[in-house]
Amino acid sequence: MSAQVPERYRNDFLREVEERVEEGRWVKMCMQCGVCAGSCPFGPHWEHSPQKIFMMIRAGKRAEVLGSDSMWMCTSCYNCIVRCPRKLPITHIMHGLANYAHRLGLAPKGQPTREFARLFWDNCIKQGRANELKLTLGLYFKDGLAAGIKTALAMKGIGLGMFKAKRINPMELFGGHRIKDVKGLHAIIAKAREIEDRRKGYTS
C-alpha cells in the first residue's frame, strides 16, 4: 500500500459508483459491520474484503478500488448477500464494480478470471453460441505456445475419452456451427451497449 496520504474523503467517487455501477447505489448503505468479510470463503485470498472495498469507495480511492483484484475473485457463492444485515446485494455490487473497472480498462491486467471472462464472451458472441473446443484451447494457450502444448499433452487422455464418447467434435475447430442469425445478434448487442453507454455516460 502506498505511503502517501490517500485522496480526500470526498463524495465524488461514491457518486460515480452510484451512477455508473450496477447496484452501486447500495454502497452508501453499508454499516461497516464486516460480516461480509467474515463470511467470504475466499476472504484470505483477496486484496480487499467487500467491507474494505466499500470503505475505499467512500474514501475516494478510485484507482485502488478499480484496480483491485477482489471483485474478480468472487465466486458468487452469495454467502455475503445472505448474511448482510443491511441487505446489500454484495455479490452483484462486486460484479458491477468488476464490469465497470473492465470497461474503463482499469481492471488488473492478466487477472485470470478477467481473461477467462473475456475469452468466454468473445467466443460466445462470435457464433452466437459457445464453442467448447475453441474455448478450451484458447484457455490452454493463453499463456503462450509452449505452456499451451504442455497443458494439451497433459489433458490428452481426457480429450481422447471425450472424443470417443462423442462429447468433442474436432471439426468444430474449423468454423464450428453457429446460430441462424449471427448478424442480428451482433446488432442486438451493439444496440444494448449503445443504450448502456448512453445511460451510464461512457464516452468510449
Binding site: R8, Y9, K28, Q51
Partner: protein, 740 residues
Amino acid sequence: MADMKTAAYVCSGCGIGDRIDAKQLERIAQKEGKMQLVRGHEFLCSAEGVALIREDIAKEGVTHVAIAACSRRAKTDAFAFEGVAITRANLREGVIWSQPDTEDARELTQDMADDYVRMACAELKRMKVPAGNPDRGTSKRILVVGGGLSGMTAALAAAGAGYDVVIVEKQAALGGRAAQWHRRIPYRNPYDAPVETGIAELVAAAGAHPRIKVHVNATLAQTKGAPGRFSVSVCVEGGDMVTEEVGAIVQATGFTPYDIARLPELGGGTNPNVVDQAGLERLALEAAAKGEPIRRPSDGGEVKRVVFLQCAGQRDDSGAHLPYCSGHCCLTSIKQAMYFKDASPSIDTVVMYTDLRTPGLGEDFYRAGQARGILFTKGRASSVTADGALCKVAFRDLILDEDAAIDADLVVLATGMVANSGVNIDIPEEERQKMEVKPVSVLNLAYRQGPDMPQLKYGFTDSHFICFPYETRRTGIYAAGPVRRPMDMAQAAEDATGAALKAIQAVENAGLGRAAHPRVGDLSFPTARLEGCTQCKRCTVECPFGAIDEDEKRYPLFNESRCRRCGTCMGACPVRVISFENYSVDTVGNQIKAIDMPDEFSEKPRILVLACENDAYPALDMAAMSGAMYSAFVRVIPVRCLGSVNTIWITDALNGGWDGVMLMGCKKGDDYQCHFVKGSEMAAYRMSKTDDTLKQMGLETERVATYEVAITDVARVSQLINEYVAKIQEIGMSPMKGFA
C-alpha cells in the same frame, strides 16, 4: 400489652395436611407458642376460612394473628386484616414444596414445619400493631426544579392528574436547553427526518396551565422538611424570598455540554469553525431565522463540507475526559448532518465514529441518513488544525488502517453530557471549599447528610437505575432527565412522566402516614429508645435516605416520612435501641431462640438463613414452586433488607447452638440491586468484621457466610443452600449446643 390477644391458624390445604401432621402443629402453637386461640382449617384462604379469622378479630378481640399456611408472598389479598399484627409461617413453599415427598423425608419435614410454627408464635408475641406515621404531611403540591423539557413534561403530567405544581427555573424563561435546539431526533414513525422540537408549545401549555405556577430567574435557597411537608425557600428575581409548601419534588436540572475548550487538540475553544453540537444548533437556529443556509462562522463563507467527530471528550479511558457514552450524540450528529443534506445534497457530510450507537428505532434514522448520502467513516481523529478558513482533520481510518486527512469548512464535536447534579456530598465540605470551581447546590437541603442528593457515578444523581428509575436516595425527591443518566429528548420526556407519577405516589402515601417505595403502604415506622442511645451517630450516617437528623441534644431525630422502613438504622445500632412496631431486634431474635435445637449428636444441624424479602426470599419461594429441593436443616427468616440485620442476631444464633448462618441479600456496588440502595453494602461491611467474633468464640469463620442472591437466581439459590449445608456438615456440629 394488656389487651393483646394472640391467635394461630393452621391450614392443611394445598397438600400441607397430607405431608405434615397439622394437629401436632396446633398443639405446638398452643403449648409452646402459648397462643390464646388456635384453630385448624383445611382451606384457610377460602371465603369461609377468611371469615373465620375476621370473626375472631371482631368477636374474640384477636389483635395478633399467626397464619401457618403458604408463603407471606402468597394470598396477600385474602390475609389482609387491618388493625392487627400478622405473621405467617411458610409451610407450603418453605416446607412441603421444598422437601421431597418420601417416607424417609417425613420426619425432617415435620421438624421443619414444627419450627416454623414455633418461630411464628415467637415473633408474633413481640409484635405491635403499627399505628401509622404520626409525621404526616398534607401538602399535595409538587415542586419541579428546572423548566426544561423534562421539568415541563413532569409539571404538565402532574398538573394534568390534578395536582398543583410549582416550577422553579434558573433562567429568565422556560424552555431549557431544548429551546436552543433547531430540530429534534424523530421520536415517532417514520423516523427518517428531523422534526420540530415542540418546545414552544410546551412552554405555552405550562405557562397557561391553571395548576402550574412558574418562578423564573429563581433558585432554591433552602429545602427542608419531608414528603408531604417540604418547605422550600425560593430566591426569586430581585433577591426576594418566597416560601413554597410542597409535598414532593422532581429534580429535572438537566445537563451542561462538556466544555469544548478542554479539547484544544480538536480545535475546541480556539478555532471558530469548530463548534459543539449545541453550537451547531445555534448556527442552525440563526440561519433558519434569516432563511439562509448555515454559513462558516469565521468568515460567513459557504459550507461545502462538514465533519462530525463523535465521542469528542467522551468514552475516554485516559482519565482526561468523560469516561462514559452520552447515548444521544450519534443520532444528534446524524440529525445535524441532515440539516446540511436537506439544504443541499451537494454538501459533503462526514460522520466519524468509532462505534455508531443508534438505540431503538434510531437504526431507521441512521439508514435514512445513509440514504441521504451522509458519509460514515470509522475513524479516530487526532487533530484539527486551521488551514486558512478550512479545518484540516487528521485521523486514523480504522477500516483501512491508515492515516488520512480531510478538509472541512465546519467541524462539529460531539461532546458529552455533564449532569447538573449540584454538590457531590460525598466530598467533605472543607474539600469542596478548596475546589477551583466551587460547586453550587441545587436543592440546598437542610439535611444532616448534605445539601444535594447523593450521586452514583460520574456525577449523575443516584436514581436506582437498574431496578427503579427515579428512586433517589432522598425520599419524596425524584430525579428525571439527563441529571440522572445521559439521555435524549424522547427518553427525558418519558422519564419526566415517570418521575411525576412517583411524586404523586409520594404525596398520597405521605398524607396517609404510609411508606413510599418499596414498602408502599407500610404503616410501621422506626422509634428509638433514647435513654439507651449513646449518640454514636451510626444510624444517622448509615441511613441510605437521609431520614435521620440530629436534635439539639445530638440524639437521632427521625423524619418518618423520609423513612423507607428498610431497618438499616436498626441493623446499625450497636445498643439496639431502634425498632419498628412489627419488626425489631426482638421479633427476629425471638424466632432464633424459639426453635427446638437438636443436640450435638443428633446429626441434625441447624442453619439460619436471613433472606432479603425483596429478592432472596421470593427466589426461595420460586425455587420451591419450580420443584427445586433444598436441605431440611435450614430455617429461613425473611428480613426487610440485609442492612437491617443486627449482628446480635448472628451472635445469638451461634451462642444458641445454630451451626451456621447464611445471609442472602441483593447485589451491591455501582450496579447495585438493593431496593434500599446501601443496605446490602452495609451488611457486607458489617459481616466482614464477624470473623474476629467467630474466632473469639472458638468457631470456624465459615459458620457465617454472605451471599448475593437476585430474584432471578431461582435455580442457584437451592444449590447455594445445599452446598453450604454440606460444608457445615464437613466442619461438624457446633460445639455451642446445650448451653443457652
